[in-house]
């Protein structure tokens, strides 16, 4: 058969090399380094600020003082106890909140009746700042653990609800129709098609809920508490211990960071189909 030479051209004037995107294969080490740069800069600024006296120790303790405070709190057992109490509260509240948000979200996202019945009420309640519920909850549940856990549960259920109902509502209609023709029941449909499809938004809802659980934890522990990180903070405030205050703030930050990392890991574990089959043709 003939080859390209028969159809060869004599002039390639005006032609250009197409400007293709560079392949995005950044090395793992570099990626990690780029992530670490921001926090590292903040830490360096803190160290130099304290060392040069720009940051007065009465306002913000230096990194050295904070480390010493960590040691002191740890050896006295205060920090361990406080962490245990706080994490248990946040965990219990988060578990309840996420479960409630998830169930309500699936209900309103999947069924027309559920949406008409529930959505407006939930949206109404959602606009109430959860901090304003603190006094009411004190009256209802007393000043014990229940009020705190319920507050965290209420705070975390709303982001979960919004993400879930949105994700479920965006389920692929064509796919649902197809599965119905193969005789899949409603429950199986939700479990095997709708929820896996909604996972990306479920997980972003979970991320928001986790952050909010820490915020609600602080609010819950600042009031009449006798244990936990928040209690540690309010006593430190009374004695103007900025080093202990900083320790507590850092602990909240670390908890938030760990929670975020856990969800990222979860994303990779529960959605294996998202990482395969990309880019190949």
């Amino acid at each position: 058969m003939s080859t390209a030479t028969e159809f060869s051209v004599t002039s390639t004037a005006g032609l250009v090399v197409p400007d293709a995107p560079a392949p995005r294969t950044r090395r793992r080490g570099l990626r990690l380094a780029l992530r670490v740069v921001g926090p590292l800069v903040l830490l360096l600024a803190w160290i130099t600020g304290s060392a040069t006296g720009v940051l007065s120790p009465t306002l913000l303790a230096s990194p050295g003082q904070v480390l010493a405070a960590v040691g002191e709190l740890w050896t006295s057992g205060q920090l361990g106890d406080a962490l245990e109490v706080s994490l248990a509260r946040a965990g219990a509240g988060l578990a309840i909140g996420v479960l409630v948000g998830l169930s309500l979200g699936v209900l309103t996202g999947f069924s027309r009746l559920g949406e008409e019945l529930l959505d407006s009420s939930v949206q109404l309640l959602r606009t109430v700042p959860f901090l304003s519920l603190v006094p009411l909850f004190m009256v209802w549940f007393g000043i014990g653990e229940t009020a705190r856990v319920v507050l965290i549960a209420v705070a975390t259920s709303f982001p979960m609800y919004v993400s879930t109902s949105g994700g479920v509502r965006n389920a692929d209609r064509g796919l649902l129709e197809a599965m119905r023709t193969f005789g899949m029941g409603r429950l199986a449909l939700v479990r095997e098609v709708v929820l896996p499809g909604a996972l990306p938004s479920l997980l972003s809802g979970l991320r928001l809920s986790m952050t909010l659980s820490v915020i609600a934890l602080i609010a819950a522990e600042e009031i009449n508490s006798t244990a936990g990180i928040g209690y540690l903070m309010s006593t430190a405030q009374e004695y103007s211990r900025t080093d202990v205050l900083t320790v507590c703030i850092l602990i909240y930050a670390v908890i938030g960071l760990l929670a975020d990392g856990a969800v990222r890991l979860l994303e990779r574990l529960v959605m294996p189909w998202r990482t395969v089959g990309r880019g190949a043709r």
């Binding site: 003939s2 197409p18 293709a20």
Partner: protein, 239 residues
């Protein structure tokens, strides 16, 4: 008329160990309609993506015109933009753009759908919007990636006529990637067959337009091309 619209020399593209395109040479002249046939996975779409600048070659020369547009297999319309905005997407706003957009929609017979949302269009209509979007930029090279593959047979025939007519008016160089041998013969000035990363066939279609599938020369070319694709037809196997 010997100026090039596409100039490829020694083009290589590998995915892992597999060379999808293996030292490929190809020239397409200005205004020439080139149809590329090949089985699934033969590298047709890879070649098109290289020409569109969506992918990088592992070796060789790729020269293409500055203005290139693509019609993909799916319409790929932005769901949140109305039809006219989809056609003029990425162009400067203004009445001039609006007018050229409207002209392009009129050309594809969708002048009364300018304010419709993409979700309300049928498959054929959406693909016509995609075609209008590709032509409104007056491309020197139009890349068609199996643009009719997802359409029903009747709509496909109408779309083929439309593309033929519009290409005669606008005269871009065209690379049509397709599985459909009849489609290639109906539309193309020249047909190539890609197998194992190389062009095993590259020939001019010597039939007069409009081309009739019942024409014996059409049928002969069809069975020859099918044989190149590894499909043997009755005419050839029977004595």
């Amino acid at each position: 008329m010997n100026a090039a619209a596409v100039h490829l020399r020694g083009l290589e593209r590998r995915f892992g160990d597999r060379a999808v395109l293996d030292s490929l040479d190809l020239d397409i002249r200005r205004g020439e309609f080139f149809a590329l046939l090949g089985a699934s996975g033969s590298g047709k779409t890879t070649l098109l993506r290289l020409l569109a600048g969506l992918d990088r070659p592992d070796g060789g020369t790729v020269l293409v015109p500055q203005v290139r547009t693509v019609v993909f297999q799916e319409p790929r319309l932005v769901p949140s933009k109305r039809v006219l905005a989809n056609v003029t997407v990425g162009m400067p706003r203004g009445s001039a753009t609006r007018r050229t957009g409207l002209d392009a929609l009129t050309e594809v017979g969708l002048a009364d759908h300018t304010d419709a949302w993409p979700a309300t269009l049928s498959g054929g209509e959406a693909q016509r919007v995609a075609l209008a979007r590709a032509l409104v930029r007056e491309p020197e090279l139009l890349l068609l990636d199996e643009p009719f593959a997802a359409l029903d047979a009747l709509t496909r025939l109408r779309m083929q006529d439309l593309v033929e007519r519009l290409c005669r008016v606008h005269r871009p160089a065209v690379l049509l990637v397709t599985h459909d041998v009849d489609e290639a013969i109906r539309l193309a000035d020249r047909i190539g067959v890609l197998r194992e990363g190389r062009l095993i066939t590259d020939e001019r279609v010597g039939l007069d337009r409009p081309r009739d599938p019942a024409d014996p020369a059409f049928a002969a070319l069809r069975s020859r091309l099918l044989a190149d694709l590894g499909v043997h037809t009755l005419e050839e196997t029977s004595p």
